[in-house]
């Protein structure tokens, strides 16, 4: 009887502690995002024209994740002022083999050379692509600290401890105008945030949505840029 009430008391304290930690850290588990824009030319898009967002995958160290490319595309296409975005895989397959990691144009000057191929021009016209956006970047996790240990016994189980880590997202979008074969600008998004995982009986993840914030900020800025705002 005495043991049961002590256990119940401990559990209650644990829940209170978790609540306090969650509340406190919830405020701290936020993200800082910085957006930089560099414009090299005028932009604008007509009704019926579309853009394509492609991830750079030439580097040996990392590849721009498909999910991030998709996230930016979905956000740009959303809303009343949404822009038509050609899905990456459909575009890359349709223009095979010109946009593969080994063969994709690296500079806007290469685009001019590529557009000299009649089959490429034909496909570009089919999709009515006005801008090609190259996304390059990744999210890295660093400064992992703390430890959490979990145990289970006949009377129940639980976890105790604390863990934290930092996420840094760094992405760059280079915008090429297909009609003039020139680079019209670059937008970069840097986001960072600290995530926490307190565990008093139950682990509560307080995740800083670093990549999601980088995606939404970059997509919003990119949409404004393409629309000519």
């Amino acid at each position: 009887m005495g043991t049961t009430s002590t256990m119940a008391g401990l559990a209650r304290i644990g829940i209170y502690l978790t609540g306090v930690l969650t509340g406190g850290l919830g405020l701290a588990a936020c993200t800082t995002t910085t957006i930089d824009e560099f414009r090299q030319g005028d932009t604008g898009i007509d009704i019926g024209e579309s853009i394509v967002i492609l991830g750079r995958r030439q580097g040996a160290a990392y590849e721009t994740r498909e999910e991030f490319v998709e996230c930016v595309g979905d956000r740009i296409a959303r809303g009343n002022d949404g822009i038509t975005v050609v899905p990456e895989q459909i575009f890359v397959d349709a223009l095979f083999p010109w946009f593969e990691p080994r063969t994709a144009p690296m500079r806007s000057e290469d685009l001019q050379q590529l557009m000299a191929q009649p089959l490429v021009t034909e496909k570009m016209a089919e999709f009515d692509v006005r801008y090609i956006v190259w996304l390059d970047g990744q999210t890295e996790t660093s400064n992992r600290m703390g430890s959490i240990s979990c145990a289970i016994g006949p009377g129940g189980g639980g976890c105790f401890g604390f863990g934290s880590w930092e996420d840094d997202s760094s992405f760059e979008a280079r915008i090429w105008d297909v009609s003039s074969h020139t680079a019209v600008g670059t937008i970069s998004a840097d986001a960072s945030g600290q995530s926490y995982m307190p565990a008093v009986f139950v682990p509560i993840p307080l995740i800083a949505r670093v990549e999601a914030n980088a995606c939404s900020s970059l997509a919003d800025q990119l949409k404004l840029f393409v629309l000519g705002g």
């Binding site: 590849e63 083999p97 593969e100 089959l119």
Partner: protein, 220 residues
């Protein structure tokens, strides 16, 4: 007496069914143990897009040797035991059967390169796999599956004379998924490598020095 016989009969029936159960359990255990020791088979399956390139105005014969048709790479553990058997022959043939008809006006698959003359082809293409390497996350300590393949490509005249012989490499990788199987990781990395081969082959074919020299008078 009758009761004693019946009880003996029941007990013998019980012991035989127990023996039967025991042998089934042993058999199942043996099967599990054997399955744990057996190498896992991965048959590469993927689809490849058609290249957007102008076709060369000629008829190409292609010969797939048994070496490429039945190509199986064996990945071994550090202890030297077979871990994965990666069969990529069918996928390689599917890839070339997609890529070559886009690169040449006509393509003829030959069962024997000696039939080239009677089939009226301008040249015979013979692809082969020289080397296959697999990078597994648990061995490379990277978060991805990697496949690297080295090919030997040969182009001969219909009578078997040398036209060109060159080496090509292909590389593909895929990120390790949290709940994905090793088999699907290997498959995706191999399909990426084959796609890399297709893109590089279709663009660089006419730039191979010996092929270029052979093509020049034919394209004028």
């Amino acid at each position: 007496m009758e009761q004693a016989v019946r009880s003996e009969f029941i007990s013998s029936g019980m012991s035989s069914s127990r023996r039967y159960c025991r042998s089934i359990v042993l058999l199942l255990l043996a099967m599990v143990a054997l399955n744990a020791c057996a190498a896992r088979s991965v048959i590469i399956e993927g689809s490849y897009p058609t290249p957007n390139i102008p076709p060369l105005p000629m008829t190409l014969g292609v010969y797939y040797s048994d070496a490429i048709r039945d190509y199986v790479y064996t990945e071994r553990t550090d202890a030297g035991k077979d871990e994965y058997l990666v069969s990529s022959g069918a996928s390689h043939i599917a890839l070339f059967n997609t890529v070559l008809p886009a690169m040449f006006q006509q393509v003829v698959v030959l069962d024997d390169p000696a039939m080239a003359n009677e089939r009226g082809v301008d040249a015979v293409f013979i692809p082969d796999i020289d080397e296959f390497q697999l990078g597994m996350p648990q061995k490379t300590r990277l978060d991805s599956y990697e496949v690297w393949v080295k090919y030997n490509m040969r182009l001969t005249a219909p009578d078997g004379d040398y036209i060109a012989d060159w080496v090509m490499t292909a590389y593909g990788k895929t990120a390790q998924q949290s709940f994905g199987s090793a088999e699907s990781g290997i498959n995706d990395a191999a399909v990426a490598a084959l796609r890399d081969l297709a893109s590089n082959f279709s663009i660089s074919f006419t730039n191979v020095p010996d092929v270029r020299d052979w093509l020049q008078p034919r394209l004028q």
